[in-house]
Subunit: 424 residues, 2 copies
């Protein structure tokens, strides 16, 4: 029976300097000493990727994507070689591999390739020889043997794909935070680190604006039933385990809260209340690649007109307003109003499926704080409300209390103040 | 009939910044416009290789060579991607390739791999599609698909190997000097740029200490009859063509002079004049990897003892002296003397083969300057003398006159003062 296998992925900040690489390698060496087979996936060092992009723009304002990928992939190749050297220096037999050497095959869509297959035979051979393997994250190789990259932050994708193919016990995502919290600890000092959370909840939290794992990574992990452990690279905390729904998980009605203040509200005023009007508005927005979140349409009044309100990212606001102005110019609406002074507060929890009254509890808590709800949106495991931006942090704290999320962190220690998770 | 093919190799200084890459790419674009097919070989940008080595040493004082090669190869991959982007930005269709993509196959001797074969099918295909090809120098790929490097400065090897396989009209070595000179122009202001010189002469000059092309590169070029053009990356000078011996070349008795002041003289005093003594000395030196140049043994005197004198690099001097002290301790010699105050002056020329009296002319010129010759060594196309270091530059100038090398440079312009060729 082979030793249990763990995939460890270290982010760019964690391997940002030689000294940090040595500290991360020590963590890997300890895991090897404890009787594990280990595959390490590394990102590029610190700001390496951004620096390479800046260099590319100096020689070509619109660098061709094939060569951009060839360029960017060097970032992870450097950290792979250095991490392997560090392990060897600690007496841990190790071998580093590029995506080409591992056999991380992708389609030929440069800068955002999708993995089509992972051979991993070479990694399995090295593991069988008792070596720790270090693999360059973020990259793959196309059928034409061209270097491809998987998109920003996609070293996590590499790690999950390897964990799936190799049947790893878990995939550790080691980063600069010590886990996932019930809410952003910088806003809610009483926020607790979650011990366990389901893939689905993390996906909802991410799509609501929490800066946790990318949805794409969690989706892949869910599909292949890979257990993800989010923990701090430097520290011994137990972190947060993202896994399949387990008995006991259902008992928690709300797992986490997210406050998102990066969005704005657009109101299309006095739209003619006729069939096809909504589609006219949102087709226009889609054509300009503007993602729309919550949409609310008022009941039509005596005028035969209605207001349509929707939420967009602040970065898309001026584009969205321009778009609506076009409709106004064509006489399809009377005017447009934009409001950047809003916040979206979301509660996510598997327990909502089985527990009635979660929405009522949320609205009651906000009413007690005299906070006005402007819009509401729900899914099976999520409730979001749009509220005045100025009330955001107070509302977040009130809900954190109302859903009984306050308390000392599960497990060891106090929540880290530098946590970036559940960022508002 | 396909367009003539030129391989252009740009050194690290030439591609040291984005701005310099753009200037080099302009040179390539001009060659393409002039109706050539072009394959560009690039070194790593400026000090990139040294920086990567320094980084490696921070994580492991003795970095494993396999990972060192994986690390260093990123330097050329970066400049390859950037150079290709620069060409594309100028409207020149281009494609960049790593050694793996080209098919530069090597043995598995990391950090000093030898090329075992070059496929180049992919480069030929891209050329046929009308693309300029940019290839990462200095690197190859082993049978195990591991990244290998070919040794310091070996981007020239990549360029010559590609020129040979592709049947290029010439291989341009573009660098920070504008050609090869009859002597170091910083010492001899009247030194002339050579228009043409044979592979053999360049090899002798290089081995005598001239900082021209590495012997290994010229050997490979000679073997495959590749014509090398050494010229400045930034400038329009004609450079120096290194090619096979051609009619007319023989007429020049001496092509170039080299003054080397990086060596020292070691004298083993009162060695017993018995068979096997010389081999005892030089076996010891070889065991410690000390390269020995000129060796002179005095005629044995009445004492039955003799002095043996040889030349080593100054960097090896203390090791060599220690080595001889060991012989003294074993009673095989009486003592050792070291002299760092020497210079080696060499004259190289194909014409020596057919012209008698070259040595006499050399010795006479030195005698007229009252310069004492300590040691002499000759080969078919070379004469070297060891003289007092303080007389070195005066001797070099005297010989330059004596062999009628003074004069305006062949071709255009005056010799560049910043030339590094024929460095003393």
């Amino acid at each position: 029976m082979p030793k249990p296998l763990v995939v460890q992925k270290f982010g760019g900040t964690s391997v940002g300097t030689a000294e940090r690489i040595l500290r991360c390698a020590r963590r890997t060496a300890d895991l090897v000493s404890a009787g594990h087979r280990v595959v390490v996936v590394v990102s590029a060092m610190g700001q390496a990727t951004d620096e390479l992009i800046a260099l590319a723009k100096q020689v070509n304002a619109r660098p061709p994507e094939r060569e951009l990928d060839m360029l960017l992939a060097t970032g992870e190749q450097v950290s792979t070689a250095l991490f392997t050297m560090a392990l060897e220096g600690m007496g841990v037999p190790a071998a580093g591999f590029t995506a080409h050497q591992v056999g991380i095959r992708t389609d030929g869509v440069f800068t955002k390739a999708r993995i089509t297959g992972v051979d991993a035979a070479r990694v399995e051979k090295a593991l069988a020889e008792g070596k720790a393997c270090v693999v360059a994250g973020f990259q793959g190789v196309s059928e034409d043997q061209d270097v491809t990259t998987l998109g920003r932050g996609a070293s996590n994708i590499t790690a999950v794909a390897l964990a799936a193919v190799l049947g790893a016990e878990r995939c550790e995502i080691l980063t600069d935070v010590d886990g996932i919290y019930t809410a952003d600890p910088r806003v809610v000092p009483t926020a607790r680190r979650l011990e366990k959370i389901s893939h689905e909840e993390i996906m909802e939290l991410a799509s609501m604006g929490a800066q946790v794992m990318q949805t794409r990574t969690v989706e892949l992990a869910k599909k292949h039933n890979v257990r993800l452990l989010v923990a701090a690279s430097f520290g011994s905390g137990p972190g947060t385990l993202i896994c399949q729904k387990e008995p006991g998980m259902e008992e928690v009605v709300v797992s986490g809260l997210v406050l998102n203040t990066d969005e704005a509200k657009v109101t299309v005023q006095a739209v003619k209340d006729e069939p096809g009007m909504a589609s006219a508005i949102f087709e226009e927005l889609a054509l300009r690649h503007i993602n729309v979140d919550i949409i609310v349409q008022n009941v039509s009044g005596a005028t035969g007109c209605t207001d349509v309100t929707f939420i967009v990212a602040k970065t898309d606001l001026s584009k969205a307003v321009d778009c609506v102005k076009g409709l106004v110019a064509r006489g399809l609406a009377r005017g447009v109003a934009a409001d950047e002074g809003i916040a979206k507060l979301s509660a996510v929890g598997l327990g909502m499926r089985t527990h009635a009254g979660v929405a009522a509890r949320m609205f009651k808590a906000l009413a007690q704080e005299q906070i006005n709800i402007q819009m509401i949106s729900t899914s099976e495991i999520k409730i979001s409300v749009i509220i005045p931006g100025a009330d955001g942090q107070r509302a977040l704290k009130a809900l954190h209390r109302a859903f009984e999320l306050d308390g000392p962190p599960a497990g060891s220690g106090k929540p880290k103040k530098d946590s970036k998770r559940m960022k508002s």
